[in-house]
Point group: C2
Chain length 356, copies 2
Amino acid sequence: MARNIHRSPVMADVARLAGVSHQTVSRVLNDHPNVRPETRDRVIAAIEGLGYRRNSTARALVTKQTNTLGVVAFDTTLYGPASTLYGIERAARDAGYFVSIVSLRELTRDDLAEALDHLGRQQVDGLVVIAPQSAVAVALSQMPQPVPVVTVEGDADVGLPVVNVDQRRGGVLVTEHLLRLGHRTVWHVSGPQDWLEAEGRIEGWRETLLAAGAPVPEVLTGDWSPRSGYRCGQRLAGMADLTAVFVANDQMALGVLRALDEARVRVPDDVSVVGFDDIPESEFFAPPLTTVSQDFSEVGRKAIELLLDALAEEHEPARPPGEPPGGPAEDTPPPPHVVVQPHLVVRRSSGPPRAA
Amino acid sequence: MARNIHRSPVMADVARLAGVSHQTVSRVLNDHPNVRPETRDRVIAAIEGLGYRRNSTARALVTKQTNTLGVVAFDTTLYGPASTLYGIERAARDAGYFVSIVSLRELTRDDLAEALDHLGRQQVDGLVVIAPQSAVAVALSQMPQPVPVVTVEGDADVGLPVVNVDQRRGGVLVTEHLLRLGHRTVWHVSGPQDWLEAEGRIEGWRETLLAAGAPVPEVLTGDWSPRSGYRCGQRLAGMADLTAVFVANDQMALGVLRALDEARVRVPDDVSVVGFDDIPESEFFAPPLTTVSQDFSEVGRKAIELLLDALAEEHEPARPPGEPPGGPAEDTPPPPHVVVQPHLVVRRSSGPPRAA
DNA sequence: AAAGCTGATGTGAACGCTAACAATTAACGC
DNA sequence: GCGTTAATTGTTAGCGTTCACATCAGCTTT
């Protein structure tokens, strides 16, 4: 009686069919040299005949590599994180890795610790953490890291490899654009101040104003949501000398546009509005939004690139021979920091001030 | 010399420290009964003392369960899929599962096959496939399924468990809303016709019009993007008798609003516009958009619920005793089909027609 | 022609865990 | 008091790979 009819084939089955040992099958599978072509063909035929697929669990047990990368993300319903995640997933899969994801409910130390614990249980080979708050990056750096970690939009000063978009530069681009159009100064609706992205955009904006000798207005702070933008917009609508606003993301910019519209302030005739992110919708706002475009997929790709580098380094330590391990403190190179440049997309929401 | 200083502890280490056998450690870890409380405490102390963590790979090898669920998604940069994914991830993690994700580049049979192959290699215990096109659902149903599968937004007639939002009902809600406001008929900008969601919304819309004896205008077809909505909006702006439009998603609705605005058609005074999805932005469109809200997280949760049920069933087949396995064709229950109800969110983009 | 090498293959152990069974002890009933 | 049973623990054997090493032919080398 063939009672094993439903058991999926293992290496030994393939070996038997091909008339070789299981080890030879393993050699074929792992592209070892020193297998006679004829034997190789026979093994491959047996593999295909049986529909054999290597058991990755058993393999992981002995190689101690799961071929899985963990990704810790936050609020993946937003366009930016979602795009970054997509870029990461794609690059990782192209490199032959599985991607295990954990979305943080909240950007807290506990949630982060839980996420790392979860992925740790799964024995991921490496980790990408989207850490947009300085506190998160710091917390991360203080946790034990049994595997290589790359952060995205994280804090470069925290001692971990980082990939991020040059937020400061984005702020500069926007502010210069508006000043060049003839505006005396530019107001700013920022994201939450503990977010690194918000901070960078503020910096770029402030520096540019200062460099131009323009007055630096008080910063209005939102929380990235359209609603918070709307509230800030209502406050802005009451300002007499307002001619230009830089809003830290497109969603809030939408809220600002709405508030200005309700207050009968015309954009761009009365006030210029510039956003940040270039979400697919922003081209169709009323009016189409001038904004800053970030290549999120590129960020994801770079993050995986860095992680794979770290993984490779882990396996060939490349320690200079004769150097006793753990000996004199070699000057280890600083962790890599990849910066992706954003660019300005000019649309109709920005123009010269009315009474120039 | 302690040469193993960096080797992470295994069960045997814990056993040695606690003065028991490794099997007893295993029993403690798996909450087996019949372990003396005192022994249990000693083991737990040893585990904590050593910082021991069970090796999930070794465990998976023997239990043949990876505790990982695979998710196949498409275009996760969109709000809907991203939210669904989030719901899935959250529910799966709460249930103690890891989540491995694959985003399809394209909605093709080949891409799907590759994704399933990828996840198959990883030996996932179960699969959630977001299959918004009928063709995808069909292709999926024809592929070998070594593990339980649940589809989301898939085709209920294809023989696989499904969780979806009642799109038809959504179309009905919108159309009834507009007719009740006094519109003679309602135009429709649909999604791509091979998408099940697009189809369901069209159906609900058409049925409602027919039931009310209202004329059924030609359907304009978009591709979910704001740009396609804009193009359709331009065409609509030229229609003389237009008073109401149902747009199949909020992004396209934004495009329609933009086109109407450019054509000096006022919303809702001249034309009412209703969307679908209730993305966070839609409340701040000009004007705020009446739309249909779908509980994507609920969809994700339900999908995992179904999958876990299937997984549990797999292990306790619950076959009536005396019934020979593979014997007479028992009338297997139809695959479960969970439907989540959407609801209408009325905002300012819809109102009574001008010349009522 | 003996020794040495190289290429091709096989054998046994190990990875760290759980399942099945065996063994030991304590408790119980008549 | 002794078999019977239940509770607790240990022993052994895998799970399906890869790694380290052994083997064995067929060549070269001197």
